[in-house]
Symmetry: C2
Subunit: 309 residues, 2 copies
Amino acid sequence: SKSNEPPPAPPVVHYYMNNLTNTRTPIENSETVLILTPLAKFYQEYWDNLLKISYPHDLVSLGFIIPKTKEGNAAYSELQAQVTKTQSGPKTKRFASITILRQDTESPLQSQSEAERHKMENQKVRRAAMAKARNSLLFTTMGPTTSWVLWLDADIIEFPPTMIQDLAAYDVPIIAPNCFQRFYNEEEKKNDIRGYDFNNWIDSPTARDMASKMGKDDILLEGYAEMATYRSLMSKMYDPQADPGTKVKLDGVGGAALLVKAEVHRDGAMFPPFAFYHLIETEGFAKMANRLNWESFGLPNYLVYHYNE
Amino acid sequence: SKSNEPPPAPPVVHYYMNNLTNTRTPIENSETVLILTPLAKFYQEYWDNLLKISYPHDLVSLGFIIPKTKEGNAAYSELQAQVTKTQSGPKTKRFASITILRQDTESPLQSQSEAERHKMENQKVRRAAMAKARNSLLFTTMGPTTSWVLWLDADIIEFPPTMIQDLAAYDVPIIAPNCFQRFYNEEEKKNDIRGYDFNNWIDSPTARDMASKMGKDDILLEGYAEMATYRSLMSKMYDPQADPGTKVKLDGVGGAALLVKAEVHRDGAMFPPFAFYHLIETEGFAKMANRLNWESFGLPNYLVYHYNE
Ligand SMILES: Nc1nc2c(ncn2[C@@H]2O[C@H](COP(=O)(O)OP(=O)(O)O)[C@@H](O)[C@H]2O)c(=O)[nH]1
Ligand SMILES: Nc1nc2c(ncn2[C@@H]2O[C@H](COP(=O)(O)OP(=O)(O)O)[C@@H](O)[C@H]2O)c(=O)[nH]1
Ligand SMILES: [Mn+2]
Ligand SMILES: [Mn+2]
């Protein structure tokens, strides 16, 4: 249906929240996963990898929120074509349900080039808009049977088919793989990889000190030379020689790929679109979860790859 | 169904958020309302008044969250009996859908007597638990078609059948009627009324000053002599001689009866279970909404009544 009419609902549904588990063996326990993707641009590789996940698709629901921009319209058409194909294809590949939201707010920044959106002066307004988009998507799609929420950006074009199980096996409230990017290394004349997402970090005394001196609406940003925080970035911790399963405790997280136990969100942890302890969006989310006594972790040697423009 | 199985979902649903209005004429625009009630004790008068609301029931969904206590079990049975009766009764009285959540966390305070739950030392832990219950209910039941959320406590036993329309007509993001209580005035030997909910207030310099000197996890509470805030309480503003439609801007709100545009929650406004600007739960919600540029209002002369134990 293309309308805003609510689907016919059963008169009464009872849910026992304590029957809703999230364990290190989610498939065995038939735990449902909600994969949430803010989507401004559609990448075929993202969808292809999504289809390849080995988590039973009938336990997986998808939710998208797409901006009301020209680029968003294009992404919407491309997504719709793939969704129709998948949901009318082989039963085992079909997802339990798919919700697509078209944003009602104008996008604050029309240009979405990597250079433009990473400019420091554009970050606060852009990340506040991203935070609101994530919150809208979350509040609107999470249901009484959701056990896990996997945040997965639309430009994550390579990730293992077992990612959900792999991350869930750590049995922690919030966990992020390390988000890298492939590139051609001009100096070494070879294909190479580098860290992409700087929002997965361990806090530093410098950053805390900077925060303590800021105005109440000011935010700390990571990855800008003019604002050196000396935080320990997970993107710098990758070591192909080390234990691939190594886990580190994080104070800030990114949303590119992030598995969250649904109860963390249910307690109220969302993506602050305002300065929260001088943090915003996904970094603010980690801090808010922390205030709710939920811990965040990262896997420095478990890589997923971001598209390279 | 009594299980935790998800109801059969349509394969794909598209929602255009800009088609989702919340206007001063919600019935004409077929806007859906989600009534959310944290429920520890069932009052027949609450249910009877709920059945009497003149907002079309097929546009109204109900959501309850009930604690895992002995009292909660009793409330659950009583609710269930009424729900079954209503949903199998005349079609025009049936609600669009009803979701009942049983909490998985233990209630921090078993005794629910008015005196006990209002003790100052019990407030922080109790209100943090209430905030989490409200968040769970909200995150779990709000859907893509929800236009309005009406928070309504289970012990609000008198309210006008036109309350939703009356409040919506103000076309403001957040609006609270004045929550009173009937009692027998021993001095004047007659039935009388008095203010009950002290969480609807306009901030004061004293309160701001107290907050500025507090530890980061400390919260301000309203209605305690040992912590005089000199805030202007809406419960003190009731004037039966004055314009019944008077509206005042509020800085803190209560949750006993509160109409919220769904987009306020979608932006991320929830009930902080931690000190947020030294405020918690519904009062913290008003502050958080304010950080998101949504304003709160109250109607001092529009009364609803809380049960008197
Ligand atoms: N709904 C929505 N999604 C967006 C918007 N801008 C970007 N996105 C998506 O949100 C995710 C993160 O944004 P992106 O620009 O890639 O952030 P970056 O990689 O951290 O610079 C990607 O999946 C984008 O497609 C927006 O305005 N609205
Ligand atoms: N789910 C849930 N609801 C509760 C709990 N405690 C109280 N309630 C309900 O939450 C609402 C507000 O609580 P109440 O004790 O009346 O607060 P007060 O009137 O402000 O003192 C009422 O509808 C209660 O029935 C609890 O532990 N869990
Ligand atoms: Mn990206
Ligand atoms: Mn009460």
